[in-house]
């Protein structure tokens, strides 16, 4: 890698001070499983002058549960989320999503905050500089989106605007279905942002002087069926081609409540609101599921090579509803 300076921050204030002092030329490093790859590939137009290690900040990890829900520190390793008895017991959707990420070693290193904030995997965006020069594209601030005319088999089928790369985080999809909120610290104080406001087309909304500190997950209904379906070519390593996360409650055979999120279909996690509306108050049968699935993709605008993702999304959604 090209050189950089390295600082350990021992408190949030220190980290924020360093960020401010470097005036945008420093980056936070948590687990590093995404950032180190970005630096090695030298894919971005600016290379940081310094890395600020936040793993040295105490109390930014940990899983706490009370009657209302979970508080997960942003530095909690993915493997701890997988191993957490309370998450496995009551927030199974989150556990499944975490368990599906990468590989065991990556889960030992990667943090939930890092996973939520990770950069997109678009292969134009990620093209390594050493192999003929990084690709400068819309997402990087200059140039077109190469996926539009190029190979977009893994790109967005909805909500693409200028950039058609998809949000790669499985945890984000699970947390969208779980209606999570994020606690964000800055020099100005703390703010809480619902996950549905945390992402926009070009990535997360964190400002240069902000740090994600906690993930708040309200307790899902006791008897809700939590499902996470991750469609990919292989059972390990791969990011999702399409994913669906759902929390569905039934009462007397009728759907009482539904929260459904779609992943890897858009630059942001998608809350499948139309599908939720269709199945609420109805018995869950194949016909209703199909209707909901059709509604969920009604506004899909596929590119030249990814129309198949529409079909896969519909199928996954139906399977999640009927689970």
């Amino acid at each position: 890698m090209k050189p950089f300076k390295h600082h350990n921050a021992y408190s949030i204030e220190e980290a924020l001070t360093l960020l401010r002092d470097y005036e945008g030329r420093a980056r936070l490093i948590a687990g590093g499983t995404d950032l180190i790859g970005i630096l090695k590939g030298d894919i971005l137009l600016d290379y940081p002058e310094a890395l600020i290690n936040i793993k040295t900040i105490p109390d930014l990890d940990g899983i706490k549960e009370d009657g209302k829900g979970l508080k997960i520190g942003a530095l909690t390793r993915l493997s701890h989320i997988v191993r957490s008895p309370v998450i496995e017991d009551k927030y199974g959707l989150l556990e499944e999503a975490a368990r599906s990420v990468g590989t065991p070693e990556i889960r030992n290193m990667g943090t939930i905050g890092g996973n939520l904030c990770q950069d997109t995997r678009c292969w134009y965006y990620r093209y390594p500089n050493q192999m003929g020069g990084r690709i400068v594209c819309y997402r990087k601030g200059e140039g077109p989106c190469y996926a539009i005319k190029g190979d977009n088999r893994y790109h967005a089928i909805m909500e693409g605007k200028g950039c058609f790369a998809v949000c790669p985080s499985d945890i984000a999809i699970a947390l969208t279905a779980l209606d999570a909120e994020f606690m964000i610290a800055s020099t100005g104080g703390e703010r809480v942002v619902p996950i549905t406001d945390f992402y926009q087309t070009l990535g997360h909304v964190l400002k240069p002087d902000e740090i994600l500190t906690k993930i708040l997950v309200p307790k899902p209904p006791d008897n809700a069926t939590q499902t996470f379906l991750k469609y990919r070519l292989r059972e390990s390593v791969d990011f999702a081609i399409v994913s669906v996360a759902s929390v569905i409650s039934l009462e007397g055979g009728i759907c009482r409540d539904a929260s459904i999120a779609l992943g890897a279909v858009a630059p942001v996690p998608i809350k499948a609101i139309e599908a939720e509306q269709i199945i609420k108050g109805k018995p869950l049968d194949a016909k209703t599921a199909e209707e909901a699935a059709e509604a969920a993709v009604a506004d899909a605008k596929p590119l030249s090579m990814n129309a198949y993702k529409i079909e896969v999304t519909k199928i996954l959604l139906q399977r999640a509803i009927m689970a």
Binding site: R121, Y146, R234, P302
Partner: protein, 758 residues
């Protein structure tokens, strides 16, 4: 079936096992030399461009940079077939092509200096499709190759096969009951992608002598092939343990050029180790393959005529691809016994990184592209493919024209029993429901089965030599130019010598792979290690043994024929208790040196049949490989786990998965390789393992003393066609593309959803 030997056929620990499991096995990345410099490559942003100007002054001025070379100042060496690939050229022919090279004290300094080289490019139009590249107005990649058609090259002698023209195809087609024709491709252009990227250290000992360290599959290629390309320096090639090769790291000509050129310019040793990105985007890929032709068969499965053109896409240049064309033409004849052929070939350049030697060596490419045409004919005749292969795979007494253009008659086995045993183990009779019929339907999930065959007469290719030296302390040293890249051959050759000499394995050693020390060996290609290299080692061991017994005979007052040796003792056969030691027989200041040489023999084709079972989710389009059964006859197993490992290798090295998810993906407007990392390039993980069974027969073959033959190379080749067949059967529809990713499956099922296409 097989004899009961002491070592041969028995499970024995591999000789390098201890080093491997303790991390002591030494690969090229693990060694350093004093005053070593690190070499790095500046690569082209364009798929096709002329270098109008290149200014390296700023890069040269960086502290720690020892040399910067461009086409202007590299030595005039050339590689490729014919010699059309200079160390650095005035042109870039693919995104990532080498433009300049730097040697510096550290890799970081070299990379930093790369950014300071100023290049002015004149962009040229690029071409990516093999037939488009042949059109009159196509961009021309090489001045030497008008129409981008690469010249033939007598890689295997003046009659090297570049076409198969035999008999009378017109008559053959008239005799056919069924003719099937079309144009189909096997264009995954996958990467064998061994785990270790290629790397070379080069050091000039003086103006004339060059020492090269590298982890390669064939220990001598850096000497005997590269010498002629570099003005005949005296090259000493030393091999480190090789982290996988599958053909692609038989040698590393361009990394060697870069390291040697920089070493010459700086007067210091230079190490060039490719990164994984370079390994993916600027190193050996499978050739692309497209077949346009027809096959005629009779209803009883007799093949009456094969005609067509085989288009082979070699990317930016050809290094050995003519060899793959030749062997592909040969292997097609092994698979399809047919008196009438008119098979022509075209070798074409396109603007992507170059193809090179890959396991399957042309046969996998041709057969996978032929496969849809062949299976359509079988389908029309309602022929069971296993019966068809039994009828048509070359039998003892059948003839074929092999790669060097000579006619050979097979002395091999009739592999029908192998096919039957494989079919039995797989349950073929129960699972095969007929063409385009699924084996089972379970809701949206459909199961289908398929089968493929492959074989190669290269098991006896090329020359090998070996010495075996018997030492007074009852150890034996085998001098053979053999490196270790995964086949376990260095260890297996010890077993062969140990068996001849009846010495414990611990007392049998192979010399380091060093061309200064060892006699000639062509290399470990085409599964020749067992037969060809084995023969040389066995002969050398027998020769040494004779000499030893000649020395012992007077001391035991016997004739040498009456003597036996075991565990370092020599004795009369009837009086084993009255032996003398080797040291008494030869004296402690003497050794016994035996020599053996193997001359090429292309008369014993090997064989492998592979059955596959796939399950297709017809709603999501995903195809899962559930079960693989490979069946082969090796004559005699030398080392059971090494053989099993080689057969399991079907799931690696751009084999069966090129039909499922493995491919190199380029953007055909910008020319970038898109899946140029280990996540987007798909490979099989521990959680995706199918059930895998090997059925191994041992019918003694007329090869050498142990009647054995190698099969490692062919393990990958039947798979892609078999999977294509299985998926077609599962869906009840013919699919013909590789790889069969979900989008292709859903398209075949008419389920693409709304969209700009369909």
């Amino acid at each position: 079936m097989s004899k009961d030997y002491r070592f041969i056929g028995k499970r024995t620990p591999r000789k390098d096992a201890l080093e491997i499991v303790t991390g002591k096995a030494t690969y090229i990345g693990d060694i350093t030399k004093s005053e070593l410099l690190y070499g790095k490559v500046l690569r082209s942003p364009y798929p096709h461009a002329r270098i109008k100007d290149i200014d390296t002054a700023k890069a040269e001025a960086v502290p720690g940079v020892a040399a910067v070379l461009t086409h202007k100042n590299v030595p005039d060496w050339r590689t490729g077939m014919p010699r059309h690939v200079p160390v650095l050229d005035r042109k870039a022919r693919f995104v990532g092509d080498a433009v300049a090279i730097i040697a510096a004290e550290t890799e970081e300094i070299a990379i930093e200096a790369l950014d300071l080289i100023d290049v002015e490019y004149e962009k040229l139009p690029a071409v990516y499709d093999v037939e488009e590249a042949m059109e009159p107005d196509a961009p021309q990649l090489h001045d030497d190759f008008p129409g981008n058609l690469v010249d033939g090259f007598p890689v295997f002698g003046p009659k090297t096969l570049s076409e198969v023209v035999v008999g009378d195809v017109e008559k053959g087609f008239e005799e056919a009951d069924i003719i099937s024709e079309g144009t189909y491709g096997y264009e995954s252009i996958a990467n064998p992608l061994p785990i270790e990227p290629p790397g070379v250290i080069a050091r000039w000992e003086d103006e004339h002598r060059l020492t090269v360290w590298s982890g390669t599959q064939s220990a001598s290629w850096h000497r005997f092939i590269m010498q002629s390309k570099m003005g005949y320096p005296d090259i000493r090639a030393i091999d480190t343990q090789c982290g996988g090769s599958f053909g692609s790291k038989n040698y590393a000509p361009l990394p060697l050029f870069y390291a040697a050129a920089l070493a010459k310019a700086t007067g210091r040793p230079v190490k060039v180790c490719f990164t994984k990105e370079e390994h993916l985007g600027a190193f050996v890929l499978r050739p692309g393959s497209r077949f346009r032709g027809k096959i005629g068969i009779k209803r009883d499965g007799t093949v009456t005529a094969v005609s067509g053109v085989w288009f082979v896409d070699t990317g930016a240049f050809s290094d050995m691809t003519q060899g793959q064309v030749a062997v592909g033409c040969g292997e097609a004849q092994l698979m399809l016994r047919c008196p009438n052929w008119d098979l022509r070939t075209r070798l074409v350049c396109t603007n992507r990184s170059a193809s090179g030697v890959v396991r399957g060596f042309g046969g996998q490419e041709l057969e996978s592209a032929l496969n849809p045409i062949l299976t359509m004919a079988l389908e029309k005749a309602s022929l069971d493919p296993v019966q068809f292969f039994k009828k048509n795979y070359v039998k003892p007494g059948d003839g074929y024209i092999w790669r060097e253009g000579n006619y050979w008659v097979s002395r091999g086995t009739d592999y029908s029993e192998t096919m039957d045993k494989g079919a039995e183990a797989f349950g073929w009779k129960e699972k095969w429901k007929g063409w385009l019929k699924p084996t089972a339907i379970n809701g949206a999930r459909r199961t289908g089965v398929g089968v493929g065959v492959h074989g190669n007469a290269d098991v006896g290719e090329d020359e090998s030599e070996a010495y075996v030296r018997l030492n007074p302390d009852a150890t034996a040293t085998i001098y053979v130019s053999v490196s270790e890249s995964g086949m376990g051959q260095r260890s297996s050759l010890c077993k062969m010598a140990a068996e001849v000499l009846q010495l414990p394995l611990e007392r049998t050693h192979v010399t380091p792979a060093d061309t200064m020390v060892n006699p000639f060996d062509f290399g470990l290609v085409g599964s020749r290690g067992t037969y060809a290299v084995g023969s040389a080692v066995i002969k050398a061991a027998e020769d040494a043994r004779h000499k030893l017994l000649d020395l012992a005979a007077p001391k035991l007052e016997a004739a040498p024929e009456d003597l036996e040796t075991m565990d370092g003792m020599i004795y009369l056969k009837e009086r084993p208790e009255e032996g003398i030691s080797w040291s008494r027989a030869m004296g402690i200041m003497q050794t016994c040196m035996g020599f053996g040489r193997f001359e090429p023999d292309y008369s014993v084709p090997n064989f492998l049949i592979q059955f596959v079972e796939v399950e297709v989710d017809t709603e999501t389009g995903r195809v899962d490989l559930r079960r693989v059964v490979s069946a082969t006859d090796v004559g005699q197993i030398i080392d059971p786990p090494s053989l099993e490992g080689q057969l399991h290798g079907a799931l690696g090295s751009a084999g069966i998965d090129t039909a499922l998810f493995e491919e190199s993906i380029w953007d055909r407007t910008t020319g970038h390789m898109l899946n140029i990392n280990m996540i987007d390039y798909k490979w099989r993980t521990f959680l995706d393992l199918p059930q895998f069974e090997n059925v191994i027969l041992e019918t003694p073959l007329p090869t050498h003393r142990f009647k054995a033959i190698g099969v490692g190379e062919i393990a990958t080749s039947p798979g892609p066609g078999a999977v294509r067949m299985a998926v077609s059967n599962a869906l009840g529809k013919r699919v013909s593309e590789y790889p069969l990713t979900p989008d292709k499956i859903l398209k075949a099922l008419g389920k693409m959803g709304r969209g700009k296409t369909e």
